[in-house]
Each structure stands twice: as structure tokens, then as C-alpha cells.
């Protein structure tokens, strides 16, 4: 395990130990450039939790988590099962170690599977999700692209990818996505450079606010729109109005197919 992996580096950001020396070395390099990334990563996980709960409240009970990584605290099925124990979740990742680990962790959990797949191949991913994950495309599905599309270059057409997945679903389906932005904090954008060096687990491409909004195509973006991660439907209480700078480096939103 000499090459760092996106999933294991992310696990390290989140305080996990599912990682190796090469992953930690790369993660520390990123954190030296942008120490707040661990906090941003937590915000991202929090967004995912809120988004899953929101989608459950909208009656969605099938989740396709693309680029799921290494299961750590608060995974999609754990969050969903708190309100709907029968919710079905298909985790997809192209990292064989992540998938193997997910399977080990999920063994015995009904209705949840981890499959190996490249999210840039929608046809294959959807086929396997149906065959191996019992995903039912005749009923609404939530497609999760949480903090993953910035690992897909422009040449592969990220907006076309979103459209390809959503076109396979029925109306009432959703996509929830979060994405690093290029027009935010300058030192945040510097992480992009670290990821684009050699020995990086994957090159990265930050996108502007307009580009991120465009990823939703002709879907209906639900309230409050495409916003800074912590501002997407924060929970009541002291988090109701989180203090977030205008240059916060990541955006999130949820779109619905009508």
C-alpha cells in the first residue's frame, strides 16, 4: 500500500485509523497547506447526514452513494436507518480496499451492499446496482455525490454524468451533491495543487459557483438552493445560523427530478 487512496486520506481527515503511512503522509501535506480541511470534512459529513434525513422525510428509501469511501461514523445507512430501518443503500467505490472494507463492515446488515464500480461509467454502475444491490429504478432513488465530483475532470463532463444517472431514474428522485469551489478561500484552493501533484491519490478539479450550479442541469434545486455546506438546512438550536464566511470553500445542494 504505497500509493495513497482518496478514501483512506479522507478517513484520516475524519480522525479514523483506516489508513496507512502513505495516506497519512499525503494528508499531512494537505493539512499543512490548509489546516481547516478537517473541519470542512466534518461539515461535509454533517451535510450528508442532514441531506439523507431530508430525503427520507421526502419518502425516498433507496440511496445510491457514489464514491462512498471507507465507512466511518455516521454512514448513509446508519443515518437512514434511524428513521427508516428498511431503507436500501448501495455504496459504490472504485477503490477495491474501500469496497472490501465496506463489505466486511456491512456483513449482516440487510438491504445495504457495497459494490465496486467507477462512477464515470453510469451504465455499468446502474446495471450492477440493480443486479447486486436490488436498486429499483421504477421507484424514486437518491443519488449521492458527496465531495466526489471534484475528482472528475471536465473532459469526462461531470454535468453529463449527473444527467446520465438522473435520466435513469423516475420523477421524484433526487441528487445530493457537495463540491469544492474555486472561487472561495485562496488557501483552500491551494489544496487542489497538492492533489494534482504526482503521488497524489487522484487529481482534483475545483469549480466555480456557476459551474457547480450548472451540475444540476434541469433538475429542480430544493430550498435553500446551492449554498455553503453548513448553510444547507442547518438543524435547530445553536447551529441554526452557523457562522460561515462568504469565502467558505465548498458548496452543496439537492436537486429533484420532476
Amino acid at each position: 500500500m504505497t500509493r495513497p487512496s482518496v478514501a483512506r486520506v479522507y478517513d484520516y481527515y475524519l480522525g479514523g485509523s483506516h489508513n496507512f503511512a502513505s495516506d497519512r503522509a499525503f494528508a499531512r501535506e494537505v493539512l499543512r497547506v490548509y489546516p481547516e480541511l478537517t473541519a470542512i470534512s466534518r461539515d461535509n459529513r454533517d451535510f450528508m447526514r442532514r441531506a439523507v434525513l431530508y430525503l427520507c422525510s421526502q419518502g425516498v428509501d433507496q440511496f445510491l452513494d457514489l464514491g462512498s469511501g471507507i465507512p466511518t461514523a455516521g454512514n448513509v445507512h446508519e443515518v437512514a436507518h434511524t428513521v427508516n430501518p428498511r431503507a436500501r443503500v448501495v455504496y459504490v467505490d472504485h477503490d477495491p480496499v474501500a469496497v472490501t472494507h465496506s463489505r466486511a463492515l456491512l456483513s449482516g446488515t440487510g438491504g445495504v451492499v457495497a459494490i465496486s464500480g467507477d462512477l464515470r461509467e453510469p451504465r455499468l454502475v446502474l446495471r450492477d446496482a440493480m443486479l447486486l444491490g436490488d436498486l429499483d429504478l421504477t421507484r424514486p432513488v437518491a443519488v449521492l455525490l458527496v465531495s466526489v465530483l471534484h475528482f472528475v475532470g471536465d473532459q469526462r463532463g461531470p454535468a453529463e454524468l449527473v444527467a446520465a444517472y438522473m435520466n435513469a431514474t423516475v420523477p421524484g428522485s433526487y441528487v445530493a451533491l457537495s463540491h469544492a469551489r474555486s472561487d472561495g478561500k485562496r488557501d483552500a484552493a491551494a489544496t487542489e495543487e497538492v492533489y494534482n501533484r504526482s503521488r497524489s491519490p487522484s487529481p482534483m478539479q475545483f469549480r466555480s459557483t456557476g459551474e457547480i450550479q450548472a451540475l444540476f442541469g434541469d433538475l429542480t434545486v430544493v430550498d435553500p438552493g446551492v449554498v455553503h455546506l453548513p448553510r444547507w438546512r442547518p438543524e435547530l438550536g445553536e447551529d441554526a445560523d452557523p457562522e460561515v464566511g462568504e469565502d467558505y470553500p465548498a458548496l452543496a445542494g439537492v436537486g429533484r427530478r420532476d
Partner: protein, 711 residues
């Protein structure tokens, strides 16, 4: 023991939550976090207040924090700080007890974090290991599949380095070429060059090895280890390394020997004549076209046709005919092929010799002479010697004046027929002028049937004049071809063609009907116009069945009296008559039709023979008249004059009348009258004229009237 000043669990939980929130990723909302910490706060407060310190409770709280994924060190640090702030000022909690509780909590946290870290490390390592095993298994499976494909394929497969060294070969390739794998490795691919390799193919292989192209495919012959030759279809593909540099070459070799031989055989069959084994016309034209395309003027052909080969087939049978053709083919090929000439069979009994580098017509004549000599040598078939000859047409390319092979061969064909016409067993050399005339004759004869239908053939009439009183007693019907462009062709231009094609039969019938109808027309208009109608007959008409019936029919249709019809045959045609033809003439004579011998004096008639023929008139040929009657000073003229006199005398003895043709001068007229010639025709009187002019000529002849009496 109840301690005063301690916060209640709610207060502690709120402060604690505020302290640790956002220190770690816990996946809990703030409310859920407070609820979680409320339970733990109660445990801690109990431990502080307990009479006897028990580390189990606080240690469990430390472990619970880790379980809630407070895995960051900051979470512990802030927890300790928060507990100090909330509990440190309580009088009862001071001193050792708080430190005991915090110590136990920290120990529990550390123990749990260590356990968690080790567990996670173990899990991720196990996953990584399992993933690698799975990947290796997949690779092994894929390699095993590839190995099976490589080893068991019926197609020969070889892998080589880009310097041409062979690294791996499969069983099929070893069996195909008869070498072991070790032997292959000892021979670089360059040693497999075969003399039949397509030119340029090894250059392509080199550019493949250099990376310029990615694959090459071609058919190629190999020598097996045992020396046998096999044919293969070969596909070479370049394998590059990750940087795109050429690394290996994979060769896929399919044995196509059978297919190749079948193809070769089919090609040979398509190009050769099955009977004689000689190249056929397809191959001949390929070679001729190639030679002409090369721009060579030195190309010549000798077109050879056996004389009377049909007679061999008809009398000795087709098997003998075939054997003869085979023998002639072999001899020609042996005699002329030796000099590098291509001898081909064009079909039937026709052969052609292609001389690609002729030095001129003399060269071609020598080739033709050799061919004639070769054909002439007797061929013994089933013990019987058979002697045949041939006719050869010779054409030198630039003489034919045309670039196309088809035109060249047409010229050769025509020239061969000249040799036939000139008497066979000889060659003829192409002559452009003669060829042109042949071509225009051909065009003319092709037009003739259409012209007959359109009425382009018109009949004109030349008066036949009784010499004693210069009265018109008859007319000769003469056909002309009135072309649409106004040109008028004399019979000499088209009658021979009509005889060749057989059109003479319907044409002759039409002329005869025209003439009789015209005669009847004159007679009906003027009863004094009882003219003898003299019409030419071709030998072919006489040979044709139904002439007598035709004549009877025409006479009946037109009402023309048979005794006023005279049919003329030339002397040479009479000489060639058979008994059948003679019978026809007798039948005509029997119904009252007069028969005249035209052009008398040009042949060599046995005068005595005339007695036995159904003939009524002799027509003395024009040249004979001209020579014998023009001048009276020349000695030769005296002889001719004497001959004419003798003929006239003899004819009269036999009871035949005599007509002189081509009388052009009054002197000729005077002499012929003196010799006792009965009638005459010629320009002195009138040329052949339109039928409307005849009545005028009959009643008011412009040629007289000098009725100078005979001496």
C-alpha cells in the same frame, strides 16, 4: 454523601457539549450530542460524589467518548478542561477525588482509542490484503485464460522482441513449421524470409518494429523444417510499453496452404485452356495489354488459324480433332515458346503468338514461317498421319495505328483471313489501306439489308440495239445503290458484298420483279414497246432453291411474257455450275425464258460444251470488244478481231445470238456489224438511264440515224 456546589447533570452536559463539539467527527447533531453527554455527566457526578472511589464509571465514560467517535486528542483535552471548570470549585470535589475521576476517564479514553485504532488498522489491513488477493486472483484467472488461449489456439502465435528475436511460440506454431520452441528462439525472424514474399513486406515489418505502424497483415510462404513449403496468413501487431515505446511484436499465423493452392489452381484455370494447357485469351490479353501499356512499339502478333480444321472434325471425329489441337499446341509452344514468345489458344482452332520484342515485320514473318512449318509437320494420331496447314495474319503494333489491344487483334484476325483468301497455308502481313477498305466494305454490307427495305436500290435500263438497223430491241436492267447522301454506287461496289452475305437473293428477286413490272408498264402504255428484258442473275441465286418458282411467280404477278425475259449469268459462273444448277437453267429455258452468257471471252469456255447448255445468247465482254475492234493497224488486234469473228461464226452455227457489250465508237459499231454481231449496247448508244427516258430513246434514238448499210 451529598456534595454541595456540584452542577446538576444538565448544566454539566451543556458546558461539556459546547467544549467538545467540533473537536471530532461524530455524526451527531448538537442535541443528540447533549443527550449523549447527559448520561455520561451523570456517571461522572456519581463518581465524584461516591464515598468510595470506583474508576470503572469514569473509565467507561472515556471509552464512551471514543465509541461516539470523539477520536481526536482535543476532545479529551477539552473534556478535562471542562470538568475542571465545572467541578474544580466545588468544596467537596476538591483534591484527590476529581483528579481520580479525570485520571480514570483519561485512562479509559486512551485504552479505548488504542483498541479502536488497532481494530481499525487491523480491519483496513485485512481489507487491503483481501483486496490484493482478489486482484491477484483476478489477474491469475486472466493470465490463466490467456495462457489457455495461447497454448491451445489452433492459430499459431509467436511473441518476439523488437530486434527480431523470437521469445515465445505456441504449440500450433511449432506444429505448423516443424520447429521446437527452442529452435524458434535460436532464429531471428529475418531468417524466415521466403523468395515468394510480397515485395516491400519486410520494409513494412521494419516500420512496425520501429513503431511507425501498429500492425501489418499479409500472406506469406514459409519453409518448414523438413523443407516443405506452407502458405500462411500472417498478422503482426506491435505491443507498446506504458510510455508508448515499441516493446514486443505478436504474430498470429494461420495456415492457408490449402486455400492458397486452390486459389493458385483457380487462377491457373482461369488463365489457361483446359484442352491444350496453353494460356487462354484472358491471359493473352493481360500480357498484350501490359506490353502495350508499357508503351512498346515493338509488340507484334501472329494470328494463326488451322485450314479446314472443320473437315478433320467432321471426317475423323472430335476426339481426333482434339488430339490434333493438343499436338499442334504443344509443337507451337515448344518451337516458339523457346524464343520467349507467348503462344495462346484463342478458341476453336485459332492460336496466337505474342512477340513482345519484335525487331520488325521481317522478324514476325520468320515467326509466322516457323509456325507454318511447325503446323505442316504430319501428326500421327491412332497410327494415321494427319497433315494440316494454317493461315497466319501478321500485325506489328505501330502498323495497326491503334493503341488498343482489341483493335490490334481485330486487325490480326482480318489479316489472317487475307491469308485464307490468298490460298491458305501462308501468312499475310497487315496492310492499313486494305484493312480500311475491308472495314468500309464491312460497314456497307452491314447497311445493305436496311437499304433494301428502304428502297435505296433503284433499277436503270440500258438499251440493247439491233446492229443492222440500230433499233432498240431490248434493255438490260442494271441496279444502282442510291445512298441517302446522294452518292450512287455501281453494282461492282456492292454486288460482291451481297453475294458474300446472301443478300443477293432477295436483292435479285426485287430487281427482277421491278424490271418485269417496268417492262409490262411500257408494253401496256405502248404495244409497240415489246422489248426484251435482260436481267442479271448471280450464281448464288441459281444455287438457291426456289429460283424457278420465284421467276414463275413474278411473271404471273406482272403479266410479263416469259419469252421477253432474258437472264444473264457470267461465263465464270457458268463454268462453276453443277448439275443441279444446270437443271434450274433448263427449267427456266423450258418455260420460255432466254439464258445469256455474260462477259463471254473472259473465261476459258470449252466452246463445244456450249452445245449442251441451255443458252440462247452470248454477250461478248467489253475488253474483248475494245481490243478487237478499236484499231486495224495493230497485230494483236488482228488476232482479237479474228477471235471475235470466229466466236460470232461459231455462235451462229450453234444457233445463238451474239450481243456486243461496251460499244463506244462508230468504228467499233461498223466492224461488229460487219462481223455479223446481232445486237450491241454501250455508251455509243446510251448509258443506263432512268426508266422514264427509255420510251424516248426507243422512238427517237439520238444515236442514229446513219443507216449505213453493211459492207
Amino acid at each position: 454523601m451529598v456534595l454541595t456546589g456540584l452542577p446538576n447533570p444538565d448544566q454539566l452536559a451543556v458546558a461539556w457539549a459546547r467544549a467538545v463539539a467540533r473537536t471530532s467527527h461524530t455524526s451527531m447533531s448538537r442535541r443528540a450530542l447533549r443527550a449523549h453527554l447527559l448520561v455520561l455527566a451523570g456517571t461522572l457526578l456519581d463518581a465524584v460524589a461516591a464515598e468510595k472511589f470506583d474508576p470503572t464509571g469514569p473509565a467507561g465514560v472515556g471509552a464512551a467518548l471514543v465509541a461516539a467517535h470523539f477520536t481526536e486528542v482535543a476532545a479529551l483535552q477539552r473534556t478535562v478542561t471542562a470538568l475542571g471548570q465545572q467541578l474544580g470549585n466545588c468544596p467537596g470535589a476538591g483534591g484527590g477525588r476529581l483528579m481520580d475521576v479525570v485520571g480514570a476517564l483519561a485512562a479509559g479514553f486512551a485504552q479505548a482509542l488504542r483498541d479502536r485504532t488497532l481494530a481499525e488498522q487491523e480491519r483496513i489491513s485485512a481489507s487491503a490484503f483481501a483486496a490484493r488477493i482478489a486482484a491477484e486472483q483476478a489477474r491469475w484467472n486472466s493470465e490463466a485464460r490467456f495462457e489457455a488461449v495461447f497454448a491451445d489456439s489452433v492459430i499459431g502465435i509467436g511473441v518476439g522482441d523488437i530486434d527480431g528475436t523470437i521469445l515465445e511460440v505456441n504449440r500450433a506454431l511449432c506444429e505448423m513449421l516443424g520447429f521446437t520452441a527452442e529452435e524458434f528462439r535460436a532464429h531471428p525472424i529475418w531468417e524466415f524470409i521466403h523468395p515468394d514474399d510480397t515485395p516491400g513486406v519486410w520494409e513494412q515489418v521494419k516500420s512496425l518494429l520501429s513503431g511507425a505502424i501498429d500492425n501489418v497483415r499479409f500472406d506469406k510462404a514459409y519453409y518448414r523444417k523438413d523443407g516443405a513449403e506452407i502458405w500462411t496468413h500472417l498478422v503482426l501487431s506491435l505491443v507498446r510499453d506504458q510510455q508508448g515505446r515499441p516493446r514486443f511484436v505478436v504474430a498470429m499465423v494461420e495456415n492457408i496452404t490449402e486455400r492458397h493452392h486452390l486459389q493458385t489452381q483457380l487462377t491457373h484455370q482461369a488463365m489457361h485452356d483446359p484442352l491444350t494447357g496453353l494460356p487462354n485469351r484472358t491471359l493473352f490479353f493481360d500480357r498484350l495489354d501490359a506490353a502495350l501499356d508499357a508503351g512498346s512499339d515493338a509488340v507484334g502478333v501472329c494470328y494463326l488459324d488451322l485450314d479446314d480444321f472443320k473437315a478433320v472434325n467432321d471426317t475423323l471425329g472430335h476426339d481426333t480433332g482434339d488430339a490434333l489441337l493438343r499436338a499442334v499446341a504443344q509443337r507451337l509452344s515448344a518451337e516458339l515458346g523457346r524464343d520467349g514468345h507467348l503462344v495462346a489458344r484463342m478458341g476453336g482452332d485459332e492460336f496466337v503468338v505474342l512477340v513482345e520484342h519484335s525487331t520488325g515485320v521481317e522478324h514476325l514473318e520468320r515467326v509466322a514461317q516457323t509456325a507454318l512449318d511447325t503446323v505442316r509437320r504430319p501428326v500421327v494420331i491412332d497410327g494415321h498421319p494427319i497433315v494440316v496447314s494454317a493461315s497466319v495474319g501478321i500485325v506489328q503494333h505501330h502498323d495497326a495505328g491503334s493503341a488498343s489491344s482489341a483493335a490490334l487483334m481485330q486487325a490480326a484476325d482480318t489479316t489472317m483471313y487475307w491469308a485464307k483468301a490468298d490460298g491458305r497455308d501462308r501468312y499475310a502481313v497487315f496492310d492499313a489501306e486494305r484493312h480500311r477498305s475491308d472495314v468500309s466494305r464491312f460497314a456497307l454490307s452491314a447497311r445493305m439489308p436496311d437499304a433494301l427495305a428502304r428502297g435505296e436500290f433503284v433499277v436503270q435500263y440500258q438499251p440493247l440495239v439491233r446492229l443492222t438497223d440500230q433499233q432498240t430491241t431490248g434493255v438490260e436492267a442494271l441496279v444502282r445503290w442510291q445512298l441517302p447522301n446522294g452518292e450512287q454506287l455501281p453494282p461492282s461496289r456492292f454486288i460482291p458484298l451481297a453475294e458474300d452475305t446472301g443478300l443477293i437473293v432477295p436483292l435479285g428477286r426485287a430487281v427482277l420483279a421491278d424490271a418485269c413490272r417496268q417492262g409490262a408498264h411500257w408494253l401496256a402504255a405502248d404495244p409497240t414497246m415489246r422489248l426484251l428484258m435482260s436481267v442479271n442473275l448471280a450464281a448464288r441465286q441459281v444455287r438457291e432453291r426456289g429460283l424457278v418458282a420465284d421467276v414463275v411467280q413474278i411473271l404471273a404477278d406482272t403479266g410479263w411474257p416469259a419469252e421477253l425475259l432474258q437472264l444473264e449469268l457470267t461465263e465464270s459462273e457458268f463454268m462453276g455450275t453443277t448439275e443441279d444448277s444446270l437443271a434450274v437453267l433448263r427449267d427456266l429455258s423450258d418455260i420460255g425464258v432466254r439464258i445469256a452468257i455474260d462477259d463471254f471471252g473472259t473465261g476459258y469456255s470449252n466452246l463445244a460444251y456450249l452445245r449442251r447448255l441451255p443458252v440462247h445468247t452470248l454477250k461478248l465482254a467489253g475488253p474483248f470488244i475494245t481490243r478487237g475492234t478499236t484499231s486495224d493497224t495493230d497485230e494483236t488486234d488482228d488476232v482479237d478481231l479474228e477471235i471475235v469473228a470466229t466466236v460470232v461464226r461459231l455462235a451462229h452455227i450453234l444457233g445463238l445470238s451474239v450481243t456486243a457489250e461496251s460499244i463506244e465508237t462508230p468504228a467499233q459499231l461498223t466492224r461488229l456489224r460487219r462481223l455479223g454481231c446481232d445486237t450491241g449496247q454501250g455508251w455509243l448508244f446510251a448509258p443506263a438511264v432512268h426508266p422514264k427516258a427509255i420510251p424516248g430513246l426507243v422512238h427517237a434514238p439520238p444515236w442514229s440515224m446513219d443507216p449505213s448499210p453493211p459492207h
